[in-house]
């Protein structure tokens, strides 16, 4: 229940050449989170692998580009023997990938060039259509003229406005424009004297002249045929290039797989960064390992490393507790709840891990607020139907729906109907005041438990003053319970007990005294802050208790919503009646399901977690094989 309590700080002393191998073994176990603090800096000053890192990065770069060009390769090969990561192999793979890219890069360039030619051909075909209705010989427009300088071509659409404005300043005109969002085709005319001006501006505007074929005007059909042939020719060239690349890829498939495997095996070593340190041939690795996995880690290292090594472990020291990574509950039933806890924060080392308590109280409150056998069953079914899509959150649906069904039995409610099933406990509408009282009782229990956990957490963190005087500490809790007992007695006509009064006064005096001495402000400000802080502590408990009334309010709300659906359905004909019932129930499930889930989370986060949960811990992120190191 206490987060990260079994973590051990581990130092593995080994030979430098075994570092990559050791990092791979640790990554395969997923049990070692690197610690990058320079604890061993004086004995082992160097951080190894700087050149290694640069080489791996470059090799990955080449591999990625080759994959982008050749298409994705299979990720692994069962026939491939497991690799032993060695520097020489990495150098060899890096060199091979660089050479492979060198061989393929010209094809890549050719493919891009062909793409450009395709695009230009498209523009030409478009221009043929643009000018098809004009009685004009386009090839003559582009020829030499004594006084006139005319250009036909395309520019990016974004540049048209600016080009028009600038050309107007040098007395050029844009005569014809057509095109799409990306590119426009233009016909530009101006004085031949200023052709150098036009050249420079058109270059800046990324103008591409169109190569207009001869006889563009006198035989459009022949030109179209010519363009179609050109297109076919380009497609043939493209296919030939792609086939060449595919053959190349198939021929070198094993080398590719080997390269990928080796680079992935090298990734953990890269991810170690400052957690590995060396001096000469000696090296050390530092990190955190869960205690129960230590024997397995040691056994695997013994089995896999050829040279001797030493492994030593110790519990976390008090000064490093804030750095200890905490393993998260990420298995089975608790996984979705762990995710919701992490939305608020990661438990601090040694702090009470609220995941289990959160799962139980979340399910309980959801059921209390939304108790209905039929609706709960639908929620369970939805979770099971969507299990592939929602993964671990299926458990959340099943648990919430199951709790809803359980409370449905207790309330005697099935799809909002309250006479099909005899309530095992009570139908909420029969005694709302009793329901509200129960909800308040639940809130008191919840807050008391939260305060107890907060006190334990603070004592563990060495914050004695916070455990006694802080919000949710011993004194505020005693004051709250005394006030509660007094009010219950008063409500039962027995008056406010003297003992409760004495406890309240004593607790208040102590709280005020603590707040007063904790402040260094001038008298006026000190007086105000003491008053407000103390009021806030007392008031916080009262408002939080009242917050839990919503647990009962939503159970009543469920009955009211169902009644509204039935009333609407009763006003319809037979078909309308059933349609309204089905749609109304769906509406209730979706709307109420979402609202109740949000309200439950709100109570958990603000009335629970904020009271006792620090949530500022570090998540345990172990070294892993492969490229996505979340260190």
């Amino acid at each position: 229940m206490l987060a990260g309590n079994d973590m051990r700080h581990v130092t593995i002393t080994l030979m430098r050449e075994e570092l990559p191998r050791a990092s791979l073994v640790l990554a395969e176990l997923e049990a070692f989170a690197p610690d990058e603090r320079p604890l061993l800096e004086s004995e082992l000053p160097e951080i190894p692998g700087q050149t290694f890192r640069a080489r791996i990065r470059r090799a990955w770069g080449h591999l990625d580009r080759l994959e982008a060009l050749l298409g994705e390769l299979p990720k692994n090969d069962a026939e491939m023997p497991p690799l032993v990561l060695q520097r020489e192999q990495l150098i060899e793979v890096d060199r091979w990938l660089a050479e492979a890219w060198e061989q393929c890069a010209p094809c890549d360039e050719d493919l891009h060039r062909l793409e450009d030619e395709f695009r230009e051909l498209g523009h030409l075909e478009q221009s043929l259509n643009d000018f098809a209705d004009l009685d004009i010989d386009l090839s003559r427009l582009q020829g030499e003229h004594a006084y006139l300088d005319m250009r036909i071509g395309s520019i990016p659409t974004d540049n048209l406005k600016r080009l028009r404005e600038v050309l107007a300043l040098s007395n050029h005109m844009i005569l014809n424009v057509s095109g799409d969002d990306e590119t426009v085709r233009v016909l530009i005319a101006g004085s031949r004297e200023k052709s150098d001006v036009l050249d420079s501006v058109l270059h800046a505007a990324a103008f591409q002249p169109l190569a207009i074929p001869e006889r563009f005007d006198d035989n459009p059909d022949a030109v179209r045929e010519q363009l179609a042939e050109q297109r076919l020719e380009l497609e043939r060239k493209c296919d030939a290039l792609r086939n060449r690349l595919a053959n190349w890829r198939d021929t070198n498939r094993r080398e590719f797989l080997r390269a990928r495997q080796l680079l992935e095996a090298a990734e953990p070593y890269v991810a170690l960064r400052g957690a590995a340190r060396t001096r000469g041939t000696l090296a050390a690795l530092q990190g955190w390992v869960p205690a129960k996995r230590l024997p397995h880690v040691e056994a695997m290292l013994k089995r896999q490393l050829a040279l001797p090594f030493l492994i030593s472990s110790r519990p976390a020291r008090p000064d490093e507790e804030h750095l200890v990574p905490v393993p998260l509950q990420n298995r089975g039933l608790l996984k979705p709840f762990a995710v919701l806890v992490q939305q608020y924060g990661v438990p601090r080392f040694g702090e009470f891990d609220p995941t289990v308590l959160f799962a139980i109280t979340f399910a309980a409150m959801f059921g209390m607020m939304f108790g209905d056998v039929g609706h709960g069953a639908v929620i369970v079914l939805v979770g099971l139907v969507l299990r592939k899509r929602i993964g671990a959150f299926t458990y959340l649906f099943v648990l919430a729906g199951g709790s809803s069904m359980l409370f449905g039995w207790l309330y005697g409610s099935v799809f909002g109907v309250e006479h099909w099933l005899h309530p095992l406990w009570i139908a909420p509408m029969t005694d709302p005041i009793y329901m509200l009282t129960v909800a308040l009782g639940w809130g008191v229990a919840f807050l008391t438990l939260g305060s107890a956990i907060a006190i334990i957490n603070r004592l563990r963190a060495g914050d004695q003053a916070g455990a006694i005087f802080g919000p949710g500490g011993v004194l505020p809790l005693v004051l709250y319970l005394a006030l509660l007992i007094g009010l219950i007695n008063l409500a039962n006509g027995k008056g406010f007990p003297l003992v409760a009064t004495a406890v309240i006064v004593l607790a208040l005096v102590l709280l005020v005294a603590y707040q007063w001495q904790a402040s260094n402000a001038p008298f006026g400000e000190r007086f105000m802050t003491t008053l407000i802080e103390t009021f806030e502590i007392v008031n916080g408990y009262i408002t939080s208790s009242l917050s839990f009334l919503r647990v009962a309010a939503f159970s009543l709300n469920h009955v009211a919503l169902s009644l509204a659906v039935f009333t609407l359905a009763d006003g319809m004909g037979v078909i309308g009646h059933w349609i309204t019932l089905v749609l109304g129930n769906l509406f209730v499930i979706v709307l109420e399901g979402i609202i109740v889930a949000i309200q439950t989370l709100r109570l958990e986060y603000y009335e629970g977690f904020s009271r006792y949960f620090y949530g500022d811990g570090q998540a345990f992120r172990p070294l892993r094989v492969g490229r996505t190191q979340s260190i």
Partner: protein
């Protein structure tokens, strides 16, 4: 942006943050300190590490982290166009990175060297530099850029590059897109934010247009019409006609003689592009300081602060780089304050 609470929040934040800004005199003082003392005095006590690369990297990370924290704090109450305007300004560092990548690839520098000159930015403000670095040629780099939000620019640059490789053309186009988007976003604001931010951006654009137009025209000897094409729309004083009038001059001296006096206030017009740039920067920063304190628009005050902070960060970078790589004090001081040397 009209909510009084948001305005109050921004004003309070700015009042606190503006104490971090460095005056020109402070920057000069910092540039004369040894590295360790500079590290402590600049407020970034992190220029540590075993080697040059590490020291620069830690300093850069600390500087960037501070800048990001400030940006996040200022963005917090903003929504819609106001938020988009500031995030666009923040993408300025990404712009510098892309320029550095392209220049590095054109100069065929090793990847490690290019990487050293890049700002380390968080994912939401940055492209995947690894992918861009791992390219063999400028066309390949541009093809990678085609898959990003810079796709249109990259497509144009690719066309031009194959015809005639001009690195400054891509620089100019990137700047054009950056300022056009900034101005578009400013135009979506309501008054008084709209007018005030456009005024400030207009001054920045004026400085950029004038300095780069003079460089392109008289140093790189481009045609006046091409320079005009590369100019950015949205200047406060220098519109296209005004620029055309300046750029029709045959020499730099003639061009300087027809510069509008209003650009320099009551000061004499300097005779070199470098000094013109320095004077316009100084004027812009003076104006930004005024706007930061007195603008009726809190958003403009925030933008003015970010403009000043950008200047500070760039100068601090320059100083730390110079100190770490042992650049001569005189060279550094000239680079930081060319006007001072001129006056002397």
């Amino acid at each position: 942006m009209s909510r009084i609470a948001d305005q109050a929040y921004l004003r309070t934040r700015l009042a606190i943050m503006s104490t971090n800004l460095l005056s020109p005199e402070q920057l000069i003082d910092l540039s004369q300190l040894p590295l360790d003392e500079l590290s402590t005095r600049s407020g970034f006590d992190v220029i540590k590490g075993n080697n040059v690369a590490q020291r620069l990297a830690t300093f850069e990370r600390a500087l960037m982290q501070t800048w990001l924290d400030e940006l996040s704090a200022l963005l917090r109450p903003l929504k819609g166009p106001a938020r988009r305007l500031l995030t666009q300004w923040a993408s300025r560092y990404e712009l510098l990175n892309i320029k550095a990548l392209v220049r590095g690839k054109i100069g065929q520098l090793p990847n490690e060297e290019i990487e050293r000159s890049l700002f380390q930015l968080p994912g939401f403000l940055s492209l995947n530099h690894d992918e861009l670095l791992n390219t063999d040629s400028v066309p390949e780099l541009l093809r990678h850029l085609q898959k990003t939000r810079y796709n249109r620019i990259a497509t144009q640059a690719l066309r031009r590059y194959e015809e005639r490789p001009d690195p400054f053309l891509l620089d100019a186009t990137l700047d054009q897109q950056f300022y056009s988007e900034l101005i578009d976003r400013a135009r979506q604001l309501e008054s008084p934010d709209r007018d005030e931010t456009l005024d400030l951006i207009g001054r920045i654009v004026d400085r950029h247009n004038l300095v780069w137009s003079l460089r392109y025209r008289y140093n790189y000897e481009l045609q006046a019409s091409e320079v005009l094409y590369l100019a950015i729309d949205g200047g406060r004083i220098l519109n296209r006609q005004e620029l055309q009038h300046i750029l029709q001059a045959d020499t730099l001296d003639e061009a300087i003689s027809v510069l509008p006096a209003s650009l320099f206030g009551d000061k004499a017009v300097p005779k070199q592009i470098l000094l013109i740039e320095a004077m316009l920067r100084r004027n812009l920063h003076d104006r930004a300081r005024g706007l930061m304190r007195r603008s009726p628009s809190a958003l403009t005050s925030v933008l003015a602060y970010l403009v000043l902070r950008f200047g500070d960060i760039n100068t601090l970078y320059a100083i730390v780089h110079a100190r770490i790589y042992g650049i001569d004090d005189a060279v550094l001081s000239d680079a930081l304050d060319p006007l001072h040397r001129e006056a002397a």
